[in-house]
């Protein structure tokens, strides 16, 4: 249980001026250019192609490949950081995972260095290595092609490749999870290796082994080999630091290098003895996971809890000051920013501006339901407030009955100060939601956030929370057009559920919509299952499995369901636009009878050209999600419940349930650009609303909006939600207090998550027009943080047009008249 000993929880006397190291590292990090790193692709490929013993089991072969890479990985010290180790061979690198999604950049190797949006630099020599050495080997063997070959190019795969229905993020295989770092830091990898060896010997002692047991044997061997790679990498770091220290003339640098040499000689092989060793050990483990699995949302979890014992001991022993702790935490934050995803140009539309979204979670309660906020929580909040960097993705937990108002107010203050982070979670709703998923209470209380907003019983639950991204509007269109969509023409894609003229009641249309949705979900789940099975056959993950609770005891890799808990996440795009369209159909066609259903579709087909009165009615008078209109409340709740029940009916290849979620990254802007006009008055090819956020400018009153979103049953959204709320400004202490109290109220209503942008329309419009004046403007997208300048135009417009509320009136601020062309309904 955390006790607060800080005299000032705001740590106001600590800033970047008395933390010059963080100031200079931050500047470097912000100005770093992305370079493609082929080191991993090279070592993994050459090992599997040229060095692996063919008849060895895959568990062993892949573990050896990972070990081979880590044992040869360059020990790079690119700056004066206090922490040793880099994710890639570049100061700011985008690693290539050719066996997963890496091949998508093959056609762009010659252009990606110079493309206009977020270029990623690759040298001529490295391009040649990928072109001639690496990519050809994986052409038939990457997960997509392997699945296609295995399953005979199934229809669900073709549906996925149209992009406009759902996206199978499973192609990234293992990603989006919170490992368990505490055990490795407390006991050391040598102990974990010994554990695996003990299990191996036990099995060997049995004599003849069943097929399962022989798999277990391979798994335990794989763990030892893979973890051995991490130990080798740390040893290389230690040796290199020692070598550099010997050459270094600057005494401060020499001292730091010597310290890193000693740290890396201890961790992560052996137990961490100091706060510095714990932090550096954790960082090396994070790097190592990326040697095996793709750098997408591998989330370190509750760092204020995990690292606290070392912090507390060092402070008590007088070997650590608060300032030094802040420096170490700051170095870790900046290290978590040292890599990014390899993004092809088309990917910019869907994920533009994202980092790798390693999520850090602070505060909340502990396993015994006691206040877990401690001094380190406040140190991490202050570092976040000072650095204002894209990653790590910061999340604050808050239990309205157990955590203090002082803590809540402090988190609110950091949000006001950074204008966007951390995101805020309600412990009562989150814990209840996880318990409902079969997570033991003690484990649910120890939840952490994955990536954007997903809930996970950290270190125990393998959640693959980003397995499916499904476009709800596509199902709506299939229902409107009898199984076809405007973007895919006359082709019959979904089942024939009736033409608009055939629906005599709203109920009938609702049934048709559910039929389309159920079918689409079935296709998406089927593809995910196929990829999961391919994955099991070819990409075991002994390294990550060793850093998890469950696999070691069960003798089973994560990918075979070895974790204590399992699930797959399916997130949804276009929620608010879909609900508002249902509302508009129910009220406009079947209650107010402003037009017939075919007339509505005809108007949509003309993009409402010549239908000003009908269009105005749909925009202004039809019920809106985000208000307390009973029709809007009913339709939103019904849709959430239907999706919940449908997904929970499926069990995945690891034995876990599917969990629906509502976060969209930038997909709502990208998918919006591919969809026709909608019944809610949104015009063709305009953005959708983000996450579970109401449609921009649709909910004009703050209190009803918070009540409507807070009134959603969190049990129905076990995968998490992104509710993006914008305030035009927090001008004074009074505003700050109301800001914090409104959060409290939203949580007491039952809201699960909320995150903010504190920005006016005018400022954002100016930032779009003059990006050079806003180089560091950080915005909350729909889960993750991004620098505004890195976003594509559609996504910028989406952030600009999000309803901004005035904290002084509780009402929406009028959107600037001369810019209304940006709004989705104009």
């Amino acid at each position: 249980m955390g006790t607060i000993t800080l005299t000032d929880i705001r740590l106001a006397d600590q800033d970047l001026n008395n933390l010059p190291l963080l100031k200079s590292l931050r500047q470097k990090s912000l100005s770093a250019k992305t370079e493609v790193c082929i080191e991993r692709a090279h070592y993994i490929t050459t090992f599997l192609r040229d060095m692996a013993v063919r008849d060895e089991p895959m568990e062993i072969r892949y573990a050896r490949a990972v070990n081979h890479f880590l044992s040869n990985k360059i020990p790079l010290f690119p700056d004066d950081s206090l922490l040793a180790g880099t994710t890639t061979s570049k100061p700011f690198g985008a690693p290539v995972y050719p066996e997963l999604t890496g091949l998508t950049i093959w056609p762009e190797l010659d252009t990606m260095s110079t493309r206009e949006k977020n270029p990623q630099f690759i040298s001529r020599e490295d391009t040649d290595v990928l072109n001639f050495d690496v990519f050809p080997y994986w052409m038939e063997k990457n997960i997509l092609e392997a699945t296609r070959a295995r399953e005979g190019n199934p229809p669900c795969m073709k549906l996925f490749e149209r992009i406009v229905f759902f996206i199978a993020s499973k192609a990234g295989t293992i990603s989006h999870t919170v490992p368990c770092y505490a055990i490795a830091l407390e006991s050391g990898l040598e102990w974990l290796i010994a554990e695996a060896a003990r299990h191996e010997e036990e099995l060997m002692g049995k004599g003849s082994l069943s097929q399962d047991e022989s798999h277990q044997l391979d798994f335990y061997r794989g763990i030892q080999i893979a973890l051995g790679g991490i130990v080798a990498y740390a040893a290389r770091l230690s040796a290199k630091a020692l070598e550099l220290a010997a050459q270094e003339t600057d005494p401060a640098r020499r001292k730091n290098l010597a310290a890193m040499a000693s740290v890396c000689a201890q961790v992560p092989a052996r137990p961490a003895r100091t706060f510095r060793e714990a932090i550096n050990g954790l960082w090396i483990l994070q790097i190592a996971i990326h040697a095996e699995s793709i750098n997408m949302a591998i989330s370190p979890g509750r760092l204020d809890q995990i690292l606290f014992p070392w912090y507390q001991r060092d402070i008590a022993d007088g070997v650590l000051t608060i300032q030094e702790a802040m420096e170490l935490v700051g170095c870790l934050w900046l290290k978590l920013n040292d890599n990014t995803n390899l993004v092809p140009e088309t990917g910019e539309e869907l994920f533009g501006g994202a980092g790798t979204v390693p999520a850090v979670t602070l505060g909340g309660i502990n396993e015994n339901a006691e206040d877990a906020v401690n001094d380190l929580t406040y140190i991490m909040l202050r570092v976040t407030e000072l650095l204002k960097t894209r990653d790590p993705s910061m999340n604050a937990r808050y239990h309205p009955e157990i955590n203090s108002d002082r803590y809540r107010d402090r988190v609110a203050e950091v949000i006001a100060s950074t204008k966007s982070v951390p995101a805020f979670y309600n412990d009562i709703a989150a814990i209840k939601t996880l318990e409902n998923q079969g997570i033991a209470t003690k484990d649910a209380r120890d939840y952490a956030i994955i990536g954007c907003v997903e809930l996970s019983a950290s270190g125990r639950s393998y959640d693959a929370s980003s397995s499916i991204m499904l476009n709800l509007v596509s199902a709506l269109e299939l229902a409107l057009y009898n199984g076809t969509r405007p973007i895919t023409g006359d082709e019959q894609i979904g089942p024939a559920t009736g033409t608009a003229a055939s629906f005599a009641t709203f109920e009938q249309f609702w049934v048709a919509f559910k039929t389309q949705l159920r079918w689409l979900i079935g296709e998406a789940v089927q593809l995910n299952e196929m990829m999961g099975r391919t994955h099991q056959g070819f990409l075991p993950t002994p390294l990550l499995s060793a850093l998890f609770e469950g696999p070691m005891e069960n003798g089973q890799d994560l990918i075979f369901g070895g974790a204590r808990y399992n699930s797959s996440g399916a997130t949804h795009i276009g929620f608010a636009d879909t609900v508002d369209s249902l509302n508009a159909i129910e009220k406009g066609v079947f209650i107010d009878r402003r037009c017939t259903f075919p007339e509505l579709l005809a108007a949509m087909k003309r993009d409402f050209e010549g239908d000003a009165a009908l269009h105005a009615y749909l925009v202004n008078r039809a019920p809106k999600y985000g208000s307390e209109d009973p029709i809007a409340v009913k339709n939103s709740h019904n849709l959430l419940q239907f999706l919940y029940q449908t997904y929970q009916g499926y069990t995945n290849y690891r034995g876990g349930r599917y969990r629906p979620a509502y976060w969209t990254m930038t997909n709502h802007a990208g998918q919006g650009k591919l969809s026709g006009a909608l019944p809610n008055g949104r015009k063709a090819y305009r953005i959708f609303a983000s996450g579970i956020t109401p449609v921009s400018q649709a909910a004009s009153e703050l209190a009803p909006c918070l009540n409507a979103v807070g009134g959603i049953n969190p049990l129905h959204i076990p995968g998490g939600e992104a509710f993006n709320l914008k305030y035009s400004a927090i001008k004074d202490k009074d505003d700050l207090q109301k800001f914090s109290q409104a959060i409290e109220s939203y949580f007491r209503t039952g809201g699960l998550h909320i995150q903010f942008n504190i920005m006016s329309y005018e400022m954002l419009i100016d930032a779009k027009a003059h990006p050079e004046n806003y180089p560091e403007l950080l915005v909350r997208v729909s889960g993750y943080s991004a620098y505004f300048k890195d976003l594509n135009d559609a996504m910028k417009d989406e952030i600009i047009t999000r309803t901004a509320y005035d904290l002084k009136t509780g009402r929406s601020v009028p959107f600037p008249v001369q810019q209304t062309g940006m709004l989705p309904s104009t």
Partner: protein
Amino acid sequence: MQGPLPLVFDIHRFALDDGPGIRTTVFLKGCPLSCSWCHNPESMSVEPEIAFYPDRCIRCGSCRDICPELAITDGPPLQIDRLRCTTCGRCADICPTTALRMMGKEYPVDDLLEIILRDRHFFEASGGGVTFSGGEPTLGINYLSRLLAALKAEGLHTAIQTCGLFDYDRFARKILPFADLIMFDIKFIAAAEHRKYTGRDNESILKNFKLLASDAGSRLLPRIPLVPGKTATPWNLMEIASFLADLGILRCDLLPYNPAGIAKRLAAGLKLPTDLPDAPLGVEEEDDLRNLFFNALHSLSKSRLDAGKYSDDPQGGLPCRSTSIMQ
């Protein structure tokens, strides 16, 4: 409840200017005064009204076509013949843009309570509550009384904003027991000016204030609207300061003038007085008047305290009225 219910013309949720914390403010229609500067002119009449916001109108003609009295003629700008209009509200119902809006709607007590209670978490998180404003909320005193009593039973903080013109005995029985805060407007002490700008005498208003100063104690909060050239004169403020000091009252809100009333009058088709200021006081001028007012209030109170007329307030530490003086 007998007869028609008082009409509600707005429910402002997340209101921050009408008492402590985050509040829901309910605006009721109808006022016995007719202050020229009223920033809620749509609240003056007890009857429903149709408001028109020309900047929202797309001239679709739906309202013209549906009006049974043929009271609407196409513009631009669109015209409502207010003499023909029976405020049936069909035009506002059909209007796709909400350029036409019905001002004034009946809410049975339970319906209004249900809406108010939706924001209970906001009240609890912020120490807020519910405020009844207007118009003059005590015009429908039975309705108001039932609402306040029900809200008190729910444990919520209640407040009213009043112009002070009411029957004191009924107020004392029906409102006083259930109101935690009574925001009481004082516009003028001089009878002639009060009559000139509000259309009514202030004799009973000032009498009611004095009675409340005794019976409501610290729950009474006087408020002065600072209307440039009208209430916001040094002379008037000195007179009010003296009036309050006599009663031992040191707390008072000075409210900046809100010119929103001008646009609202136009929307509701009401006459626009010619001498209405179009902006609040300048910052400096307002500061000067505030200083003048509070200096006067404090020094007058002090001199009266020194004369032995007051006892110390056991709670607030400020000089306050001793009950004996009022008797």
